[in-house]
Symmetry: D3
Subunit: 193 residues, 6 copies
């Protein structure tokens, strides 16, 4: 638990936390080698911690989308929303899961400048539209995703990743969550783009 995990709300002490929250934090720390600050931050309110993690886990574990597609969506949406925590933390995850050390910087800056398949370009175009102008979405968005080969469930899941990170971008910026130092450099090695 890093006291500086966020700038605008107090980070709770470990001994204030319910067991399940503490258990999940410890599990993540063991997996990553450090406690991602988003966990320390959401622990401020355990009922929100649990719900947020449930949605996060559902997005990752119960989907036909590849993990790297999920992280491509997250980094692109977080770039549009100017969210430092999410760009840096999920940029690291994208570099690792896609084994692509340059892709995160490209998507966070401008997905139109990234080297993408037509399918992924369309996926990210819709993600940007749903982020910037949710009221302008109509049948066309769904049709464009169908035309490049996404299944009905994949289309639901693409929208869900975009929607959930429109939640977490807002919480992370509002609370001033700080990316752990580790995230800035993870996965910047010699994989292929």
């Amino acid at each position: 638990m890093n006291d500086d995990a966020m700038g605008r709300f107090p980070v709770p002490d470990r001994d204030e936390l319910p067991e399940d929250v503490l258990g999940r934090i410890d599990e993540e720390r063991e997996r990553a080698g450090f406690t991602p600050n988003v966990l320390s931050a959401f622990a401020y309110k355990p009922s929100h911690f649990r719900a947020f993690m449930a949605y996060h886990d559902a997005l990752i574990d119960d989907t036909p989308l590849a993990r790297e597609e999920i992280e491509m969506l997250v980094v692109t949406v977080s770039g549009v929303n100017d969210c430092l925590y999410c760009v840096v933390a999920h940029g690291a995850l994208l570099r690792i899961y896609a084994d692509a050390p340059k892709l995160a910087d490209q998507l966070a800056t401008n997905h139109r400048s990234a080297e993408l398949s037509e399918q992924h370009r369309t996926m990210l175009d819709v993600a940007v539209e749903l982020t910037e102008s949710p009221g302008e979405i109509d049948d066309g968005a769904i049709e464009r995703l169908q035309e490049v080969g996404f299944s009905t469930e994949e289309i639901w899941d693409i929208a869900s990743v975009v929607a959930v990170f429109n939640l977490s971008n807002r919480m992370a910026t509002f609370a001033d969550m700080r990316p752990n130092d580790e995230f800035y450099t993870m996965g910047r090695g010699q994989g292929d783009e």
Copy 2:
């Protein structure tokens, strides 16, 4: 379960649903007298249903904010995001919880034209800023909420309501969730504004 609950994804049959999802749907139907279409829609994917409802329940049950304040936030945010389902369904809830038959139409159209206390006007100004321009939030937003008397936990919860409905507005519009007919007219009776 209304087959027309949403226009762009199939609504599952009751006998396809896990017991806990079905139980929650039945419980809501008994409370409201009908099944709100958002439940039938999210049932398309039970793991998302559970996470979404967990967040929804945490926002309502674990907060010092009054229920009518929560619904004021929801209707205002949903109006900014042009989300039909959320404006109509939560407009009904706001009319009922605030015993204010005109307030929902006012907030959905323009919170600046509603008759609000200074505290609530500030709360909704910040909600609109966090919805429209999440990247422009800085210390000023938090300070403005403190100045009108919100506690640290209330400020976290205000941001959380805004963030969660930035999620659900996007899912409802993307899936074309349709407000139940009942929501259009509930609570339009003779209470005070």
Copy 3:
């Protein structure tokens, strides 16, 4: 004459008003059962009252457009411009003239989420473009209206309704005109949508 017809300018007394203005107000009160606040408000300046009503009458009485099409345009434009008076008052008129109790809430929130013919969807798409980005209108807007079957005169009249309500939305919001309570609930009965 309701003293609270608007929040930012004084409403004149009946005995200050010229006979023609008073006559028109009385005529409307008899027709509607109450004096719509927009009349009390514009009476602040009789020369403007007369000109505004002349335009209003021309739009309604001298056009091949159906009255419900006019009100669809008004509600959609007023929703884009966040104008409380016009959304609520013309929402009532739309419910009545179209015998469609849900259509006004749909158009005020997001015309893309309403159930519309292709012709009306195109009409409202152009209305939104002419409202939000008048400088971007070019031949394409007129061609799209022709393609869905509108005549030259109908196209002029569509633009005129949009233009006049870009006037009245601005006056109503600037003066803080308040919708009469009656408008919030009129026409919410059992017609077909």
Copy 4:
């Protein structure tokens, strides 16, 4: 009557016009030395012609605002709305009424770059806000106008000029009304700025 008065609707022949419309057109032609194309264009629909001219006349004849203030508002609003006809025609009127050959080009481009009194800068700041973001107007706009010395009636009239030209800018651009050649050069002589 210039057949090329507008690009997207037919200009009527003189002998198709009602006498009062023809009379007004002839009167304006005698005053200006040519028929402003806006008159030939609006004659397409006499009921609209009459209402538009009634509002136009009320703005100019029944107000404590100076004529040059009215034209400053018109040129600034028309610049924001990218309306060629209104910028060029009212630019000419502003040069003449204000005896200021450079002021129209300054206001049409950017009122912040014009040399203005504090009172007029505030007037035009509010005009731009009411044009671009009518939904964001609140008490602050009225208070700023009061603070620089405008009376209640002047404030109503400022809003009315802005509102009416939000109407006419949209009609002029939509119909592709063409400024008469004379307007481009009128009043560019040796007055003071």
Copy 5:
């Protein structure tokens, strides 16, 4: 050297200037009959003066684009950026080089309302997109320019004119550079549009 060449930085005295800067200023004054204020303004910093003039000269002297095409781009871009100096000064140049007394006012207000060939309309559409939304440029912009017949070098040069005036619009507005009086009226004579 006009002391009032700009409003927010001091204009240097002639005897403070390096010989090459002075030489260039004198050369321009002889050509134009007066010293354009942009030269007096940039002389504030000779190293910037030289670089700016080098780019300016390269754009004009080393290109297959016609001079009037360059000035069409400049006036359109400067209109979008609301830059008074560039609209007025390059408006004069456009009137002269295109022998078209009305074209500058048309492009500065709204290039969609100017009478343009399809090729020039496309050129200016791309110029506006690159000015307003540089991040949204993708292959489509280049393809549209190719389709209307521009060569590879012309396409580079179109982008370069747009880019350089996105620089100079910002410097001119920031420094409050004032157009010389002469520019307002030059070229408003009897040429063809």
Copy 6:
């Protein structure tokens, strides 16, 4: 010279280049250990190469601003303009000159989330305003920079850096200039933030 330096224009061969351009490219390659792709790209047109480099050199060599302040401006502006080349290449320079491995990712994403002195926060606020809304700049921008201690020359230079990178962001995106792989990782070591 990297043939893949940009995606939309041909990169010239070394033996096509004038001696001075080749000399400058070689000099930069020796300094950096590789040829930054922006040089190979601008070599497409030697007259533009020379002018661009002259401005670039003037900004860096003739200013009281610290080099790290210049790079802070560049990265922030390039982030707003979504320019991949400039964010990645100048991100590397910022990490090195400021000895701050995290600052570039912070500024490219959202300067409001970076840890900045009040002086630098104000500098970057003005940079963002001049980038996004050049027409809205007025005396207030200059006054805010003065209040936090910048001299007249520094204020001119801040505006100049912003203006020049509004040029180069547009050229880099339009031409699809590709950041050299080296830039993605340079300076991500163990300095202080």
